[in-house]
Amino acid sequence: MEILKQLTFSVLGAFKSRKQRNLRKLNDRILREATINFTKPLFRLAVLSYILAKIVQKPRFLKPEYAEQLKNIENALKTAAESVGRVPDSEVLKNFKKVETTITSLEKKDRRYLIGLVGKGELKTAATMYAQGISLGVAAEMTGMEKQEIMDYAGDTMMFERLKEELNIKERVKTARGFLGGA
């Protein structure tokens, strides 16, 4: 619980100072912690930190017309951070959800993709978990993403290239031939 509180405040601080690099670094750390500790609030915070890094990265969101909405995000995140440890996880999750709702309203003015910022954050988080070694089913469950969506995303990355496997393609093909009764 302490780690969640500390990380949520760190995310808030990095977002307030619009430090995209810090948010990305925090995202890496939170995701590792989430996979090790395996709690839903940490997974949600991983999604949030990714989305907030994306917001800070986009110059259009830093224009004065978005200032009030960014302030609303900060306030919602502050409420969520303060609630950690004081209320049950289910309530913390609701507070994180409120941050996401505020983020969604930010996009309403000028939506550019079918998949919104929150969906993109969930997809990226799920794909990273899968890349780290967690199964597709677990990654999908913890982020609420569809497995195929994660697979499509993974297929466009280099994640499988980084993996060292025991069997080579010749051995695999021999196994496959064995299935049909051939050598």
Partner: protein, 227 residues
């Protein structure tokens, strides 16, 4: 001809159908007497859910798989193996430890696939998902991979590894890519008249981009091997 059974994961089926390669399933069923078996959870995930929820992106795949079921090419097994699945999950999710905490590697659905295969005595599993496949093939590779990703030592529970290996003993994992390669070797791509190898290469790339865990160098290596 003896019937050859293969238990299929939802991901592989969706990949094959969304890349318009379901003809390959008919090809194996009709010409090589292969019976594609799915547990009810796969039917639910790949067919019923997208249709019932009107999931636009996956509707077409769902209808294609439904067609395969209606044509009798794919059969749904009604075997119940949730207790065995829980046992597999217990071993798999208490196999690797980071900072004294067990890494939750697999999901109930994935454990259920393995337990259904065991219960039905099916040796071959069609699976594009990487982690479950590696559990069957080489759990040590997962340990090495986790260490690289988490920049820390990963502890292995040998007792659970032995128990899991016993559960999965004799199982073989095939990816969609191997099914495509087999189809090529059995003449499925002949209709491309003179462009069979190009068609194979294109199909392998397509399935890779759909999330099948094959590497580019494996594709290249196979194509060089078959020159």
């Amino acid at each position: 001809m003896i019937t050859k059974d293969i238990l299929c994961d939802a991901g592989s089926f969706i990949s094959l159908t969304s890349t318009c390669m379901e003809q390959l399933i008919y090809f194996f069923a009709e010409k090589h007497n292969v019976r594609f078996v799915i547990p009810p959870s796969v039917e639910q995930e790949a067919v019923s859910r997208p249709i019932n929820r009107g999931m636009k992106k996956y509707l077409f795949s769902a209808l294609r798989i439904k067609d395969l079921i209606n044509d009798g090419v794919v059969s749904i097994s009604d075997v119940k193996a949730s207790e065995e699945a829980k046992q597999i999950m217990q071993y798999a999710n208490n196999l690797f430890f980071v900072r004294g905490k067990p890494i939750q590697l697999v999901h109930m659905g994935e454990a259920e696939m393995l337990s259904v295969a065991k219960k039905l005595g099916i040796e071959y599993i069609l699976i594009d998902e990487r982690t479950t496949r590696m559990l069957i093939e080489s759990p040590f590779s997962i340990k090495k991979h986790l260490e690289k990703e988490f920049h820390t030592n990963v502890m292995l529970n040998k007792k659970n590894l032995q128990a899991l290996s016993k559960e999965l003993n004799g199982m073989h994992a095939l990816r969609s890519s191997e099914l495509i390669i087999l189809a090529y070797e059995k003449g499925f791509f002949k209709r491309f008249q003179g462009f069979e190898k190009e068609a194979l290469k294109a199909a392998l790339y397509k399935i890779k981009y759909s999330g099948c865990s094959i590497r580019f160098n494996e594709i290249d290596e196979y194509l060089r091997w078959r020159k």
